[in-house]
């Protein structure tokens, strides 16, 4: 293998593993969108909140207890969002709901930093970071753990949405709030469940992200990377989120490694968005998204 090719391959692999993390955050977005038609801008800050809470508990109490405590926090949060934010906004245009979640994002960021401080923290999950040498490339066990967890989550969620009655009800809610109400789906319960699941995804993503890059406010901004993932994968597709994340992760790493030096670097920040714009031009609803047909 030539030197460049090996370099490119290494970039691709490490990019794919980072991409899995993007997928996890994107998964939270997709879930809420699929189940309530809300584009939840606060997913990144939920991830940040979960990671920060976990990081501050885990130094004092055992990991499994802190996980339960964080889980409880996220469940309470889900209920609060449903009660305070979503309930007054039933049957309002999706754009309004989207902007409301921007408000939630600001609130959560303030809350998380207000309680646990603004200093960056490390998150120790009690897992030694080991790297394995696979055919000349280095792969860490954290990455493999991330991949396994993401895989399990993916399968569980696809099963939930396709096969269970609750999952079907949630899909109906995302289609049309009022119609779902009319056929007797308890809208508020459905929303509560969705946000709770998104909260759980946020914990998983926050724990994995946090243990890799540390917990700080930029974590919430990093989660913005999930947005081009959604565009590429399609905003309402769970497999799309996973595949989109992998594509973005690999593509941005390759771009930074191969094109970056020629143009002065730092293109990792916006390259995913550029890619998303190109995809939008060709397939406005992403690779797996459902086309919206509008009638007057």
């Amino acid at each position: 293998m030539s030197e460049t090719l090996l370099f490119a391959l290494e970039l691709t692999i490490s990019g794919l593993l980072v991409g899995l993390m993007y997928s996890l955050v994107a998964l939270g977005f997709v879930l809420i969108y699929k189940a309530s038609g809300v584009f939840n801008f606060a997913q990144g800050d939920m991830t940040f909140l979960a990671a920060l809470a976990l990081a501050s508990f885990v130094v004092k109490i055992p990991l499994w207890i802190s996980l339960i405590v964080v889980l409880a926090i996220m469940l309470i949060l889900a209920m609060a969002v449903e009660r305070i934010v979503l309930k007054p906004l039933v049957a309002r245009p999706p754009l309004v709901l989207f902007m409301a979640t921007i408000g939630v994002a600001f609130f959560l960021q303030g809350l998380a930093q207000g309680i646990w401080g603004t200093q960056p923290r490390g998150l120790e999950l009690g897992l030694a970071d080991q790297t394995y040498d696979v055919a000349g490339m280095f792969i860490s066990n954290m990455d493999i753990l991330g991949a396994v967890v993401a895989g399990i989550l993916l399968i569980a969620l696809v099963w939930f949405f396709q096969k269970t009655k609750t999952g079907r009800a949630l899909r109906a809610v995302s289609d049309d709030h009022e119609a779902a109400l009319a056929v007797g789906i308890p809208l508020r319960k459905a929303w509560g469940i969705t946000w709770a699941i998104a909260g759980i995804v946020a914990i998983v993503a926050g724990a994995l992200w946090g243990s890799r890059v540390g917990v700080q406010a930029s974590l919430a901004l990093l989660a913005l990377k999930a947005l081009p993932v959604l565009i590429i994968g399609g905003i309402d597709s769970i497999p799309g989120a996973i595949l989109g994340g992998l594509i973005i992760g690999a593509a941005e790493n390759l771009a930074e490694g191969l094109i970056g030096p020629a143009v002065g670097g730092g293109i990792k920040n916006f390259f995913p968005y550029l890619l998303a714009l190109i995809v939008l031009a060709v397939r406005p609803y992403g690779l797996f998204g459902r086309e919206i047909i509008e009638r007057v």
Binding site: R92, L95, M99, A100, I102, G114, I115, T118, I231, F270
Partner: protein, 351 residues
């Protein structure tokens, strides 16, 4: 009773409004610069004017034409750097530089508005987010614009046809002229054929296309006009407020703040843009004053709450206010103001 179309379209249907407007203008132009301290002008009135203009731009796009943009701080950055480059290097008179950078920003904004022809809603939000990040990168990495990675360029002393604009009051008045003219222009554009076309796109784009409103023309126009405002606001921000163009001042969070101004002030209202901007500019000052008041007079807050909580209370209040206004008063402070006005006009016989 309104008997003519001219009467129906009147800018000030109530005589008292006209008088009130004149009073406000006199106050704004002559009384405020006379009576306010340097601190008041620099930290309240000038940012208020500049952000009003930015909010007005976003309001045209989001409130009237229904297209969401999360890249408005990026557009402001384009205007800011364009102004500095034109004024510093090419000796363009400052008003011309401001308008010129508005035009440049309008061109940039239209390019990033192109996706709006095929996509909408969240997809559009993401593509405008792309605009923000791409603009940030271009400004920091193209040396011709920003002079390198630190990307800070100071603007040289302000001067226009022999007039040295160096005191805060003069800067304020200069900015005010721009803001008043552009607000008038906006108010009239949104009442015109163009404004009605925008609102039809906002309310239902499929239907408006069917009745023959060119989506391409009016969406592009909305992006162009909106970014023109953002560009001029960015130029004003640099020339009359910060004194230097620095990419850090046009962070993504600023885009959200401007969106917050539009929501809190009132979507689809020119007046609302001003109210919202005033609210957001005053909010941190108000919070700080309250905290220090409580600290000194009532109880030492640092004993009750942690410092972190006090430092972050602003974010929390900002977020909570956005939610509150969306839920309770979707048309924002502007609607609140109209409600009060109508109540007072009919008082004491509301029937």
């Amino acid at each position: 009773m309104k008997t003519t179309y001219a009467k129906d379209m009147e800018l000030f249907p109530i005589p008292l409004d006209k008088a009130g407007f004149v009073v406000v203008m006199v106050l704004a132009f002559f009384v405020i610069p006379l009576v306010s301290s340097h601190y008041m002008l620099v930290s309240i009135f000038i940012p208020f004017l500049v952000f009003s203009l930015a909010a007005l731009g976003l309001n045209i796009l989001t409130g009237y034409a229904g297209q969401l943009s999360l890249g408005h701080a990026g557009f402001m950055a384009v205007g800011a750097y364009a102004t500095v480059v034109m004024y510093n290097r090419y000796d363009v008179p400052i008003p011309v530089a401001l308008l010129g950078s508005g035009l440049i920003t309008a061109a940039v904004g239209s390019v990033f508005g192109l996706p709006s022809l095929r996509i909408k809603g969240f997809y559009l939000a993401v593509s405008t987010l792309a605009a923000q990040l791409i603009i940030e990168w271009v400004i920091t990495h193209v040396k011709w614009i920003s002079g390198g990675v630190y990307s800070t360029i100071d603007i040289r002393a302000l001067e226009f046809m022999g007039w040295q604009i160096d005191t805060a009051a003069e800067k304020y008045q200069f900015a005010l002229i721009f803001v008043v003219i552009m607000a008038f222009f906006a108010k009239n554009v949104v009442r015109s054929r163009i404004g009605r076309a925008w609102m039809s796109i906002r309310d239902m784009d499929v239907a408006s296309e069917i009745i023959g409103i060119s989506q391409f023309k009016y969406k592009m126009l909305a992006f162009a006009v909106s970014s023109f405002y953002a560009g001029v606001a960015g130029g004003l921000l640099v020339a009359f407020y910060y004194g230097s163009a620095n990419i850090e001042e046009f962070h993504l969070l600023v885009s959200f703040q401007i969106l917050g101004m539009v929501i809190i002030g009132g979507m689809g209202s020119v007046l609302g843009s001003f109210l919202g901007a005033g609210f957001i500019v005053l909010l941190p000052i108000f919070i700080n004053l309250t905290i220090s008041f409580v600290n000194h007079r009532i109880v030492d807050l640092s004993k009750v709450f942690t410092l972190d909580l006090i430092a972050n209370v602003e974010n929390m209040i900002f977020g909570a206010l956005i939610i509150f206004f969306l839920a309770v008063e979707p048309f924002g402070l502007a609607r609140l103001w109209n409600t009060i006005k109508d109540y007072l006009r009919l008082w004491p016989f509301p029937y």
